[in-house]
């Protein structure tokens, strides 16, 4: 149906090497999000999959069929562009029909597909209007409709929400997710917004500088980031990074000396570390608890209270790096005061400062 396999995919524009040895497997029906900072190559990867750009080396297979040399139309894919790319001189109906007419579908079949898509996306009243008479959100839906009527094996979305305002973005996000659940076709979605990635994806592909950093479910990437980059990229506010040294190694736990006479317990595999080794301990803002007596001294600079939750900004005593705490409810510590904080034990992610890789854990954090 809509499976995708990329093998050793490389893409270069002249001398500029943009994608490096991409290997990726996507199963039929998955909602996969390509996410990463600007310039990481996610859009290029999407366009290569679509056939809008050539493959330099490597292969692309859709449904076990090598499509590397095929034109976009032949790959049975459909794409929703960031700017929607609706034909401005054609009515919505004609926009939807254009692709099917090119493929010589019968009139009746075209009509029925258009009506079905229009119903699904609630754009029936606009069928005879031109794109310039529609709002951004409506054009967005027409663009999706154009993709739907093609009944492709794979849908491709290129940052479709970036031109919408915040409220519309949230609404449309839900609509796309709902659409996916109803038509169950493979969807590949490119965005730079990690919130979209976390909320919509079955599987996230994190890209940086043309390479895949990690592939996994949203929660998997959140809980078990493979390296410092993924750890810092997903999750907002960012994970706090504390410098430390391995202090003691036990049977099933390792203690990290974070300074101030405080040791943090963590679940790193004891066999892989040595005492005195430098490490980075990553703790997400929401994984710190305010401790009564024993903990890291955190000097408060200021806080932002949103009513339902509070973000506290400060730094460890005598250090410069900003540390962020997240507390539920309203929390108003005195700016300049020192409070003691400790991480939740299972939530300390340990990384090697040189390789930036996460140190192997005894057991992957599972969720019941």
């Amino acid at each position: 149906m809509g499976s995708l396999k990329l093998a050793k995919l490389n893409k270069a524009f002249g001398a500029v090497h943009v994608l490096h040895d991409i290997d990726l497997d996507i199963e039929d029906g998955e909602f996969v999000v390509f996410v990463g900072p600007s310039g990481c190559g996610k859009s290029t990867l999407l366009r290569v999959i679509a056939g809008l750009e050539d493959v330099t080396t490597g292969s692309i297979a859709i449904n076990e069929r090598d499509v590397s040399a095929l034109s976009p139309a032949e790959r049975k894919i459909a794409m929703v562009f960031q700017s929607y790319a609706l034909y401005p001189h054609m009515s919505v109906r004609k926009n939807l029909a254009f692709g099917l007419e090119n493929l010589r579908f019968k009139r009746a079949e075209i009509e029925s597909r258009i009506n079905e898509a229009a119903r699904m996306l609630a754009i029936e009243p606009y069928l005879d209007r031109k794109p310039r008479q529609l709002s951004g959100g409506q054009r967005q839906r027409v663009a999706i409709g154009r993709a739907i009527v093609r009944e492709p094996d794979i849908f491709l979305f290129d940052e479709p929400l970036s031109n919408l305002d915040a409220a519309l973005r949230v609404q449309t996000r839900a609509e796309i997710t709902r659409l996916h659940k109803s038509i169950k076709t493979t969807m590949i979605y490119v965005t730079h917004d990690q919130v979209e990635a976390m909320t919509m994806a079955d599987k996230i592909v994190v890209l940086r500088d043309g390479r895949i950093e990690q592939v996994g479910t949203p929660l998997d990437l959140f809980d078990n980031p493979r390296n410092l980059f993924v750890a810092g990229f997903l999750g907002s506010p960012r994970m706090n990074m504390l410098k430390g040294k391995v202090a003691a190694i036990g049977e099933d736990a390792v203690m990290i000396d974070a300074g101030y006479g405080v040791s943090l317990p963590c679940f790193v595999d004891p066999a892989t570390v040595t005492v005195g080794q430098d490490v980075i301990a990553g703790v997400r803002p929401s994984h710190f608890v305010v401790a009564e007596d024993h903990g890291l001294p955190f000097e408060v600079q200021y806080f932002e209270s949103l009513g339902t939750e509070t973000f506290v900004y400060g730094h460890l005593q005598d250090q410069k790096d900003t540390i962020i705490l997240h507390q539920a409810g309203h929390f108003a510590p005195q700016p300049g005061s020192i409070i003691k904080i400790m991480p939740v034990r299972e939530r300390v992610n340990v990384f090697d400062p040189v390789t930036e890789l996460a140190l192997p854990r005894l057991d992957k954090l599972g969720r019941g």
Binding site: A50, G51, L52, S71, P72, A73, E74, I77, A78, M79, F81, S83, A85, L86, Y87, P88, H89, F98, G99, N102, L103, R146, R150
Partner: protein, 331 residues
């Protein structure tokens, strides 16, 4: 462009002019006040327009109703509509020979045929060239410049160059002889001369229109073409259903502009055909007007003005259509 020596020189020149003009102008400013200064700045322009554009328009109509060969309008007898009736009286409008001013109607028919062929030919050539240049090949800039080069030349130069090329002993005949075709005296043959007047006109102006159409093509967003590729559109369908319709408004404006310019054909045709020949085969309306007023000793300013007025009405109509289309394009 920032040559320090040139800049210094320009600076000194500006200072020099300032020194001379500033005093009297500042004096003037203190008289009329700052708020009235724009009128002062506008004055030279408006005076020149007034004398050399608006005044002529005014007296053009006036002269059209006068006769005789005197220059001053006060010396000229009023003849009412006689000039117009002379021009417009015809046994059959399709038969110039049956008209009172047969040369005028010969000129009209020559011009009409020329406009038709020239507009179609230039539009086709410019469109094809613009479509090709839009394909982002290397050296696009070179070819664009090449096609544009003739636009910079003077009509006299172009007429002479082509006259030489088409000469009895010229290059084209040399080529003909090489392929075994007997040489021709192109410019003395009615058919050939008309053909080449169109060819020369296309050669002269197509670069200009190509640029305009190219700008229109490049305004079409690239991702429409990508969407069309995903929509399985063949190159033919892309051209017919996307490119040309989106270029449509642009094309229309160019069409009208071409028509307006074609109606006024004179300079290069006159030089090329040695004054409208052979016979009157290539005499166009502007040449008629020129001949009546300035040719030989005719000095028929009234008749020429009447013909100018008629031509002006046609051109005005076309220009208004162009303006309307231009406004529609903006929306």
């Amino acid at each position: 462009m920032a040559n320090p020596n040139v800049a210094k020189l320009a600076d000194r020149a500006m200072d020099a002019v300032m020194a001379i003009i500033e005093r009297p102008l500042n004096l003037l400013e203190s008289f009329i006040g700052r708020k009235r200064m724009p009128y002062l700045f506008l004055m030279p322009n408006l005076v020149l327009f007034g004398i050399f554009t608006f005044l002529p328009i005014g007296i053009a109509v006036g002269y059209a109703f006068t006769g005789g060969t005197d220059l001053l309008i006060s010396d000229r007898p009023f003849v009412g509509f006689e000039n117009f009736s002379k021009l417009l009286e015809c046994g059959s409008y399709l038969e110039p020979g049956s008209c009172r001013e047969s040369l005028f109607w010969i000129a009209i028919w020559n011009t009409l045929w020329f406009v038709a062929f020239n507009v179609v030919a230039t539009l086709l050539v410019a469109l094809i060239t613009a479509l090709i240049l839009n394909r982002a090949i290397a050296a696009r800039g070179f070819f664009r410049a090449m096609f544009f080069y003739p636009v910079l030349l003077s009509p006299v130069v172009i007429g002479l160059i082509w006259k030489w090329f088409l000469d009895r002993n010229g290059l084209l005949n040399a080529f003909f002889q090489m392929i075994g075709v007997p040489p021709e005296i192109f410019l003395l043959d009615v058919g050939w001369s008309r053909f080449f007047v169109v060819v020369v006109s296309v050669w002269f102006h197509m670069g200009f229109y190509t640029l305009i159409l190219l700008a229109g093509l490049q305004a079409i967003p690239k991702d429409l073409y990508e969407a069309a590729a995903i929509d399985a559109a063949s190159p033919r369908r892309v051209l017919l259903r996307i490119t040309l319709p989106l270029l449509g408004p642009n094309l229309l404006v160019v069409l009208i502009l071409l028509m307006i310019r074609s109606v006024q054909i004179f300079d290069e045709a006159w030089v090329l055909t040695n004054g409208g020949g052979p016979g009157t085969a290539n005499t166009f309306v502007v040449q008629y007007i020129y001949q009546m007023a300035f040719g030989g000793d005719l000095r028929l300013f009234g008749l020429a003005s009447a013909a100018s007025v008629l031509m002006g009405v046609v051109l005005l109509a076309l220009t208004l259509v162009q303006l309307r289309l231009g406004k529609k394009m903006e929306s």
